[in-house]
Structure formats: C-alpha cells, structure tokens
Symmetry: C2
Subunit: 346 residues, 2 copies
Amino acid sequence: MDTEKKTPISTLGEFGLIRHLTESIKLENASSKYGIGDDCAVLEYPDKQVLVTTDLLMEGVHFDLTYVPLKHLGYKAVMVNLSDIYAMNGTPRQITVSLAISKRFGVEDMEELYAGMRLACEAHHVDIVGGDTTSSLTGLAISITAIGDAAKDQVVYRNGAHETDLICVSGNLGAAYMGLQLLEREKNVFMGESDGVQPDFAGKEYLLERQLKPEARRDIISALADAGIRPTAMMDISDGLSSELMHICKQSGTGCRVYEEHIPLDYQTAVMAEEFNMNVSTCALNGGEDYELLFTVPLTDYDKVSKLKDVRLIGHITKPELGCMLITRDGGEMELKAQGWQALTE
Amino acid sequence: MDTEKKTPISTLGEFGLIRHLTESIKLENASSKYGIGDDCAVLEYPDKQVLVTTDLLMEGVHFDLTYVPLKHLGYKAVMVNLSDIYAMNGTPRQITVSLAISKRFGVEDMEELYAGMRLACEAHHVDIVGGDTTSSLTGLAISITAIGDAAKDQVVYRNGAHETDLICVSGNLGAAYMGLQLLEREKNVFMGESDGVQPDFAGKEYLLERQLKPEARRDIISALADAGIRPTAMMDISDGLSSELMHICKQSGTGCRVYEEHIPLDYQTAVMAEEFNMNVSTCALNGGEDYELLFTVPLTDYDKVSKLKDVRLIGHITKPELGCMLITRDGGEMELKAQGWQALTE
C-alpha cells in the first residue's frame, strides 16, 4: 500500500463499494446465468460435474503487505484457487470473493486488489459472480470460492494412482519458496534488523515472480487432453512435493519411489539456495507454493508423457509396503516426510 | 468459550484438525458426488440451476464470543447462508466451511463450532463438502459458501416485482435486534459498565433465540410451492425490512406502499422496545438479522397467500414515481430509508 491520501471506504458503504468494484464486470461463461446483485449467483451445468474449492487468506499468516503489492495479492489469491480446479482436470468458470477490510485500507487499495483478481480471472476466462464485503477489526481477510466443471468421466482425484504408474511434475520446484526467502531478507534489511546484506534482486526476478505471481497450469491440462492422457491421480503442489506425494500415496493406498536427480529445479533456485546455504532438494521437496501439477499416468503412456513440454518424470508408484521413498543422488534411500515449511525454518 | 484446559490445535495440525472434525460426515444429497479430501468437492446438477452464496464473519464485527456460545455461532453462520438459498426459492444442498483460528482456541472449541454447523446442516439436509482450516493472528474468521438448486423456471430474483403485486413477509420482525440489545445489556452488567440493572432474561427467551438461533424459512418455501404460488420477487431480511424493500423496488424499477400497522411484531419485541424506550416499528424496519422472507406475489394470488400460515400481507408494489413509502398508524406517509442498524444506535 502506498501512503498517498486514501478515500475512506465509509464514503461508499458496503453496497456502494461492491457496486464500485464490480459494476463493469461482464459474464463470459455460458454457465454463469446471473452474477452479483441478488441473494445468490445462478449457474447452470447440465452435462458436467461441478467442482468447488475454497480458501481463506489472513493477513500476517498468508501474506505480508510490507512486500506484497495488493494487486499481486489479488492475482495470487485467485490463482491458487483456479489451480485447485485444474488439479481435478477441470476448467474454472466462476469465483466468489469475500473481503473483510480494516480501517487502514481505502477505496484505492480495494481497487488495486480487485484489479489483480480481475487480471487473473481474465487470463483464465473466469467470471466473478458473487461477493461479500465487510469490515474487520484488524487486517485484511480474503475468502475465495472457485467453481469449475469437467466432463463426468474426466475428473481426476488423488486416489487413483496404481502400482507402476509414472509420477510426473510440471515446471520446476522450490522457486516460490526461494522468492519468499529473498523478500523476507529484503524486509529485514528495510527494517534495519539485518546489516551488511544489501537488497539485491538482480538476476533473481524469476524467484520473485514465482512467489508473487504464480500461474495456475491451465496449459498442462490442455496439453494432457491434446495428448490423450488422462492422469490416474493429480493434485497441485501448494504445501511441497513431499507432502503432496504422500497425500496421493495415502489416498491411493500405494507407495512411491522418487529420484532426487529428476526433481526439476531452476538455475536461479539452485544459486539462491547456495547463497542461503540451504539444500536445494530440501527446498524443492518442502518449499511449497509452487502451484505446479503433480500427477501419475499409466506406464503405457510413457511415450506420450515424455513428449510433453515442461513435464518431468520423477519416479513411479510402488506397492504400499515399500513406503514413500526418495532415492538420493548418491543412490541412498530416504523416507519422504510431510514436513512442509517447518523443516526449512527449524 | 469455557475456561477448562484446552487441547492446542497444534497437537492435531491443520490436516489432522479437518480430519477430526469431518471424518464422521456422511453425504446425504444425490448431487454431492465427492466431499472433503481432494483439491475440490465434486457435485452434479444435471437438470437444475445451481445457486451459490457466500459470506465471511469476523470476530468482533459479526459476533461477540463473550455472549455467543460457539455452538450457536456455528449454527447461525450456516443458517444465514441457507437463508440466502431459500430466498431464491431454492433448496440448499452443500456448504464449504473455511475457518481461521487464533491460538486462544482449542480443539474443543472447534468441536463446539462444528457441532453447531452440523446441527444446522442436519436440520436442512445439507452436506459439508469442503473446507479450509488455517491460523489467524487475532480472533476467529468464518467463511461459508452455500450451494443449492432450483428447477430452471423456479428461481425467484429480486427484480421481478410488478405494480399491484402484494408484499408479504413471513414470521415477525425486530425480535433478533431486540435479542442483541438484551445481550449487550447483559454484557455491560457483567463487565461492570452498567449498574443498577440486573440481567434478566425471564420472559424474553424468544428474543434471545431469534438472535442466537435463527431459523432459515424452508417451511415457507415449501408452503408456497404447495399452494402453487411462485413469488415475483423475493429476498431474505438480513439488513432490515426497509433496506430490503428498497432493494426489491430499485431492482424491479417500482415503488411500494407498506403499512406500519401490518408489520408483524411479536409481543416480547414490543415489551422490550418499551423497556428500552425505542420505537418498535423502527426496530422492525431497521433491526435486521430476522432472516424472514420478504416476497411479492401477483394480486391474483391474494386468496392463496391469505391462507398461508405465518405469512402477513404488509402492502403493495406501486409505480416507481410514487417512491417507497411507509403509511404510519396515524395515516401519515414517510419515505423509507435504508438506514440499517445505524439508525438505531445514533
């Protein structure tokens, strides 16, 4: 938030603010029958399964406005929900947005936040169909519900992985976590809590972008459909590869073997890990917020999946009694743990 | 919240807490294909329109835990969302629940909150199909999204009222607001901020119940269907009769005339208003949180609607140029204002 003079939200009131932020919204999807302005939004999905996901972001827990611009926050808040729809092999169609706003925010701040949300929606052809705007005693809370669709036989759950299935991941991992470390360091410098280290983002733009402006992998879902591949299990990587692999294995009743050397890493992530004296594989396994897709395909799809751009084979599904194992670069075996970020900060 | 020893939520963790609270949930509705446990819930609505509504409740703004038990809070948080589905002439089928919880809450507190939510869901045959549980720096935030259905030609919007339509309201108004006043007075006594007034709920139980345990009017929707009445416009009364009447008139492009003497009031509301030295009609018009249904029907439905139990005719729709008018008991005319609670507390 910048410090220029702000228009108090009370000048518009709750209804006025919603109208102001949403009046130029046009509905794009055939399934969006009626948007903002009544007790409910009205949707229609005659031949599809309907996918629903929701989350709640709290200031100070999920985001820090000292280094996250409101427009980026809006963009990311939407994107992480769209990512959940893609992770079921679906197409996002609508979102609803609830905001609780403390007095330190002005109308201009909410315009910024909404601008970011609308940018994300436009990029993915998603309609904003409902919302609730209210006040908060302290800080900002953002709750988004995303709704999407998929043909009845196309929904992919977490529980469909089978022994010998190949484990695939899109993009690369650990960069969003490294971007967060970078921003935290910059904040400490700014706050004067750290000395000697100069804020330096040059050559690290990719890490910041991965943290501040993640992209839900619509392109991967399209590529899978075009290639005629239907994953047996899929989820998006929000809490870290380790944790998500264990979800798939637990829900599918299997084990897995994943090869450290095959985990996709970006060059900047590796450089940054070195700078922070961290193990880059640990960052990739436990960092989270990558919003890449983790999925399994039958062994018979090996040729098809090998040809996909920006998708990497990292291992395979095993019998449950073999556990969830990481094969390290030196050939050792390590049991995967769903440590999440805790493992990195302790 | 009671003060006995609590189990810290950290002993279960986020996933553990969700599992603990939701593991015994069974899905009741045919449209609920898959509930909690994946990236999304999966629903199916082949022949229906899908209704979606959401809201976000913040501690200290929407509820005060010094006098609202968590179980009641959970019940009410669900009920107000179901009310929005009924207000479109629909049937609620699913909800998702997101909670942000500060450290002062324990596992037992969340069990209480969930118990209330489940009670509301069971009473209305609604499935809990998704959720997100996260931490909050201060206080509790609850975001609920409700999903329901209606036959394609049965959805009732706010914008369908026509000149000469009859204006009807279910139940009685102002009691929830009076219940809140009563609880606030009790709190002040408890806090020692007020002396001489003894907390006294005897004979005022109905007011407390209306504030703490509102009931969404499923019965009215059923009665309308049974009587073959399809309202031309409908909404639920959450912000006060005045404000809601103005929404319907504005969106329908009409005016209205409402008769003060016909506004339904409970005896306890009237007694309490006298005790607080307030105008009972002002409470009924602006008090809010009644969660009764306000709807309009064609004049030709007069006979049918007159026979409905617990429904009162309060006026009629007029040409827009006549404005939104209240005809007072002494025959005077007053323009309605959407003042909400502000009018009562200034």
